[in-house]
Amino acid sequence: MIARIRVHLRDSRAVLLRLRVHSWLEPELDLTIYSLRRSFSLFCHSMKRYLPFVIVAAAALVALGSGAMLYRAKRPQLQAIPASNSVAGKSDSESMHIRGNPDAPVTLEEFADFQCPPCSSFAAFGEELLKEYDSRLRIVFRNFPLSAHEHAREAAIAAEAAGMQGHFWEMHDVLYREQEVWSKAPNARELFEWYAGTIGLNLDQFRKDMDSEKAKERVDSDHARGDSLGIKVTPTLFINDQPVEPQYKNPAGVRAAINAALEAKPKSGA
């Protein structure tokens, strides 16, 4: 067997390597091996025109894909209030804070935080809704203080303490109206007591109720209810036990949901 290796330089683009193998049958085997580096360079040159399109398309796919994944992760997973836990149609005013006609066919249950500015905006909107829908709508308030708000839980307890003297909604209104003041104050408790005085509460009783376990339990009970329904942000709204999706949490969306609930009610007036 004779092996002959011939190196040919065939123009400036390639290095040619020939290997000839002769056996007793004398087959010839030519192997041509081009310079890998030069071949890759030729490949890149031909692909260069497509590369920016590939990069842009890949970036678009990554952006859309990550956006979709982020949306799925952040989308609120709200559950409808189960029938066993429903407040629609019930008027147990001892444990619920109801505004409007207690026997209204449509219940708007609101989970809110007194230190939350969007909740303050909704509170004003809620009053408009009650005037607009009159006896057809009632609003049920649930405490859902967020841990990110320093005085939110204390404000909720203050509202419950005021509620024990029958003045929950007055304190509710004052807290939202003065939100900018007490939310930044280091002495929020003193302000709450001052507000209690302005709405005619017995201050000694108010202080006692604020420190009582009953007020705290009411707040915690509302919060636990919200947790069980998957609530993470405020305000979160339910209309006749059905959650109002975030994209409809605006005046037009809420009105549409209330109107739909009214239409769904039997004509017999139940």
Binding site: K48, L51, P52, I55, V56, A59, A60, A63, S66, G67, L70, Y71, K74, R75, P76, D113, Q115, C116, P117, P118, C119, L146, A148, H149, K232, V233, T234, P235, T236, E245, P246, Q247, K249, N250
Partner: protein
Amino acid sequence: MTIARFRTILYAGTAIVALAGLADATYLSVQAFTGETLSCGGSPDCFRVLGSSFSKVGGIPVALLGAVAYFSVFALATFAAFGYARARTLLIPIIGAMFLATLWFLYVQAFVLHAYCRYCLFSAAITFLLAGLVIAAPSSQQQ
């Protein structure tokens, strides 16, 4: 370093910076679509800005428009880095429009809403950087 190579590096850097802006705008767009901008518990300090009437244009979240703009800048800068002259020409008006919009939204935050959203400020910084990079890019006439 030749001017052509410098230009390539500059536009490649522009594309990378635009990607950062795209990530920021995509995050804010998702927040807008999930309703977090109208709630507390999501972005506690940004709702004043992102939940305001200035956060939408014709019903479309500004963040989404920003994401489209950033992606356009990224695409054009990528093509410009590969030597497409027309892409360089289109970059300037787009970044110019983004710059003016940024100035407007900074004015709104400072003098109308009296509140700042950190994500919006980050986007503003990105836009200023993009404007600087495009200004620094040598023109086609320079060799």
